[in-house]
Every structure is written in structure tokens, then in C-alpha cells.
């Protein structure tokens, strides 16, 4: 085979494979969640910051005693994030506003296409048909890739345990409640019904209906409907979401879209490069044997004294 033909064949073959892979990659980004997935709509205009949801989560998930009681308002002085001991926290925003403070509950948002799941190389995470993103501590190696991958800064790491390092986060009460169609503990205890449990598709309609019926009460946006490909937890707010600690710079594409084009190249590299380089290697060898290695000859001549 001539060198030119060989390179031509490589180029054509490589392009074909690359195009095929990329098309497949694009198709995988259009997943809009399981049709029967459940979710929770958080109406921040209803929340009064009673922290009952935190207490209910603590008892339901058998988490350790909190540092202060669940009716201690001093925790609102600092913005908190979920930890391995508290799968959900309530933060206070806009407290200087005359309209009164706005409280926001934070927990795992249960993405349709979770970045934690994508980033996990031992498949410790599962997105269930019910919408929950659950976690298998038995296979987790404690690499904490999921903590870096999560766009909402949610998974908490159990730094106290040296022997069994595991990542902890809200699992939508999957084992004890969601599996049986029941709402999570935080939803059930909320006195203000700031949390509404139901099918995700229905909740999106409900959220837009609330905005339509009382437009003066809400900004016209349902956070989580489209962010990072959609999440099972949806939020309504009276002011811009950026004022309530939400990341409003997130794309509507799932996090995996940022890397899937690159990942699509990996099989191409693996399949073509060995053939390409062994071809080049053989070509060189062949030329050496035929005595056409004039470069080598000339080099040898040059080095002669």
C-alpha cells in the first residue's frame, strides 16, 4: 500500500467514525426525565422559615442530633449548605426588604440528568423511575467527584468516618416513602404547604398556573424546569432567583453536554490511533528493509568522519 493511500483511508475512516459518534452523543442530551417521575414544587412565597422540614428530615433519615435545636433562628445569620448531617437546610434572604424575608429550602434537586451520576466511575448513583437520585454507599470509593460535578453544591462528605468514607445527600426519602408513592417527610410536615408533592409534569403546569393567576406574587420563571436539563425539585420565587442564592448562570443543557463531545472522541482515539501508528511503524520498517531509507543512509554518510 502506498503511503498516500494509507493516509487517505485513515482520514476517511476517522471522519466517518467521528461523525457517527458525535450524532449519538447529541441524541443522548435530549432526555427529559422519566414520564412518571415525581417531584416537589417549592413556593418560597409560602415558606415562613419554621425549619420543620429540617427536623423531619433529621428524624426520617436517622441523622445525628443537630448542633442547635431546629427552632433556633440564629442559623439564618449565615448561608448554609447541605452536609452529611443535614440533607436539607433553610436559608434566609432579602431580610432588609420591607416585604419581609424570603426563605429558601436547599436540598438535592434530583436532576433529570444528574452530573453526580455522570461523574461517578463506580456507578454509585442511580436515577430511579420515581425521579429520585439515590446513592449506593457500598460501591462508593469516596473520590468525591460528585461533589465537584454537582452544579448545586449539594452532596456532603462524611469526613468523620475514616473507615467508611461515604457521600451523603437527600434521596427524596426513596427507601421509606417515595418507593411507596408517599411524599417525602419534609413535604408532609410543612405547615404552610410551601412544598407541593406530585408528578413533575403536573407540578410544572401547577407552577405556571400559580404565576398566571397571581402575577404580582411571582417572577415569571420556574427554577428547575429547564436548568441543567430539568430537576425534580422546582421553585417559585417572589423576587429574582439570583437574589435568593440560586445560580442563574446555569445552562439549560445537562452538565454532561459540556463533556460529551470530548468523550465522543475517546472511542475514536482508541480505535484509530493504534491502527494509524502501527501502519506508520510498518511503513517505516518496510522502507528500511527495501533499502529506500535514504534519510538513514544520508545520515550515516553525514556522520562519517
Amino acid at each position: 500500500m502506498k503511503r498516500r493511500n494509507f493516509l487517505k483511508a485513515c482520514l476517511i475512516g476517522g471522519t466517518t467514525i467521528a461523525l457517527g459518534k458525535t450524532n449519538k452523543g447529541w441524541a443522548s442530551g435530549s432526555f427529559e426525565g422519566y414520564p412518571e417521575a415525581m417531584g416537589v414544587l417549592v413556593d418560597t412565597t409560602r415558606c415562613i422559615g419554621c425549619r420543620s422540614c429540617e427536623a423531619a428530615c433529621n428524624k426520617e433519615q436517622k441523622l445525628p442530633e443537630p448542633d442547635t435545636s431546629f427552632d433556633d433562628p440564629s442559623v439564618f445569620e449565615h448561608e448554609r449548605r447541605p452536609t452529611s448531617k443535614a440533607y436539607t437546610v433553610v436559608n434566609r434572604y432579602q431580610k432588609e426588604q420591607p416585604s419581609g424575608p424570603v426563605y429558601r429550602k436547599v436540598q438535592c434537586n434530583h436532576c433529570n440528568e444528574p452530573a453526580c451520576l455522570t461523574s461517578c466511575f463506580v456507578n454509585a448513583y442511580t436515577k430511579t423511575q420515581e425521579g429520585a437520585v439515590i446513592y449506593n454507599s457500598k460501591v462508593c470509593v469516596g473520590c468525591r467527584n460528585c461533589m465537584i460535578a454537582c452544579p448545586f453544591n449539594v452532596p456532603g462528605y462524611d469526613y468523620d468516618s475514616a473507615t467508611n468514607p461515604i457521600v451523603k445527600k437527600c434521596i427524596l426519602c426513596y427507601d421509606t416513602r417515595l418507593k411507596y408513592g408517599k411524599p417525602p417527610a419534609c413535604v408532609e410536615i410543612c405547615p404552610q404547604e410551601a412544598l407541593t408533592f406530585g408528578h413533575r409534569a403536573d407540578l410544572i403546569k401547577l407552577a405556571h398556573e400559580r404565576i398566571r393567576a397571581t402575577p404580582e406574587r411571582y417572577v415569571d420563571h420556574v427554577y428547575g424546569e429547564k436548568e441543567v436539563g430539568g430537576t425534580s425539585w422546582l421553585y417559585l420565587a417572589p423576587v429574582g432567583f439570583d437574589k435568593l442564592g440560586f445560580d442563574t448562570t446555569l445552562s439549560n443543557d445537562p452538565i454532561i453536554s459540556n463533556v460529551k463531545d470530548f468523550l465522543g472522541m475517546v472511542p475514536m482515539v482508541l480505535s484509530i490511533w493504534p491502527a494509524l501508528f502501527s501502519g506508520i511503524h510498518l511503513l517505516c520498517k518496510h522502507e528500511e528493509q527495501d533499502g529506500h531509507g535514504h534519510d538513514t543512509d544520508s545520515n550515516q554518510e553525514d556522520t562519517k568522519p
Binding site: 442547635t68 440564629s74 449548605r81 408517599k182 411524599p183 405547615p191 398556573e209 393567576a213
Partner: protein, 174 residues
């Protein structure tokens, strides 16, 4: 586990008056006081002073929307309820479900394609929003949880009340 579920359900079942028929409505005595949250496990039952609220509000429909008192004034509700007669049931629990998110309630909601009030609140949410909402609006009346119903011993354990004075929760994360 089951005892915890039980107490949540019990906390949800808030008692209220119920009047069985429109005929009875006219002669039914308006209660002076109503015991709310009668089987509460986390929060004790409390006596709602109905008579006092009638005196200060005077308008039944402010709380009992379209079930008794003057007809609805909200233009959105009036589209359908303008000419509605008072309903047979006046109590909150007559319309607002104590288990709004149970699998049965959700399934019934999905099956009924004709249903308009898809976003109807549950009993606990409706009562708390009615009470706390009005108390906040008029700037008069209790708005804290224990202002109305003090916690029981079980409630104190649930909210880890004894952990007061420990180091603040946020100190750890920094």
C-alpha cells in the same frame, strides 16, 4: 417508624366543625370555640376562639370562602361562584383533604380530567395559611408556631429543643 408516621398523620387531622345540610345551616349554632389539632402529637391541641374572631372580623367569607357568609368578591372566583349558594359543608376539612399528597389523592386527581381546582390546598396548609396569613396582614395576632399550640414532650424531642445553647450549626461548615 410506624409510630412516627402515626404522629404525622395525627398532627394532620385537625378537628373542625361540620354542618351536615343547608337546612341545618340556618339553625345550626355557630360555635363559640373550636378545638383544633385535637389529636396532635407534636403540638398540643388548642382552643380557637371563634366568637372573638367573629367580633373582630365580622365577615364569615374572609375565612369560609364561598361556603358561608357573603358571596365571593374575588373576580377570579366570581367567574364561577358568583351565583353559588352556600355549600352544605362549612368546615375546612369538608373541602381540604387531610392527606393532600397521598398516593390515593394524587391518583384521583390524575384520573379526574374535568377537575378545575387542581391546586387546592391540604387541610393543614389551608388553616395555617389562613391564620398566619391574616395575622401577618393585619399585624395583630400570633404568628409563631408555639404562640397557638405549645409543643408536647414528643414535639420537643422532635425539634431537639434541648440542644439550645450548643455551638451554632453554621460554625462547623466554615
Amino acid at each position: 417508624m410506624s409510630s412516627y408516621k402515626h404522629l404525622i398523620v395525627a398532627a394532620l387531622s385537625i378537628g373542625a366543625i361540620s354542618v351536615s345540610s343547608p337546612a341545618a345551616l340556618q339553625c345550626a349554632p355557630v360555635p363559640d370555640s373550636i378545638t383544633l389539632n385535637p389529636n396532635g402529637k407534636l403540638f398540643s391541641p388548642f382552643t380557637f376562639n371563634h366568637a372573638k374572631h367573629i367580633q373582630s372580623i365580622k365577615e364569615c367569607a374572609d375565612c369560609h370562602h364561598h361556603t358561608t357568609g357573603t358571596l365571593v368578591l374575588d373576580p377570579n372566583c366570581a367567574r364561577c361562584h358568583q351565583n353559588s349558594s352556600p355549600t352544605a359543608v362549612v368546615s375546612c376539612k369538608g373541602c381540604h383533604s387531610a392527606t393532600p399528597f397521598s398516593p390515593e389523592t394524587l391518583a384521583a386527581k390524575r384520573a379526574d380530567k374535568q377537575r378545575y381546582h387542581l391546586d387546592k390546598m391540604g387541610l393543614k396548609g389551608a388553616m395555617h395559611q389562613n391564620c398566619i396569613g391574616c395575622h401577618t396582614k393585619v399585624g395583630n395576632g400570633p404568628t409563631g408556631c408555639q404562640d397557638c399550640h405549645p409543643r408536647t414532650q414528643q414535639g420537643a424531642a422532635f425539634y431537639s429543643t434541648n440542644r439550645k445553647g450548643a455551638k451554632p450549626a453554621h460554625a462547623e461548615e466554615e
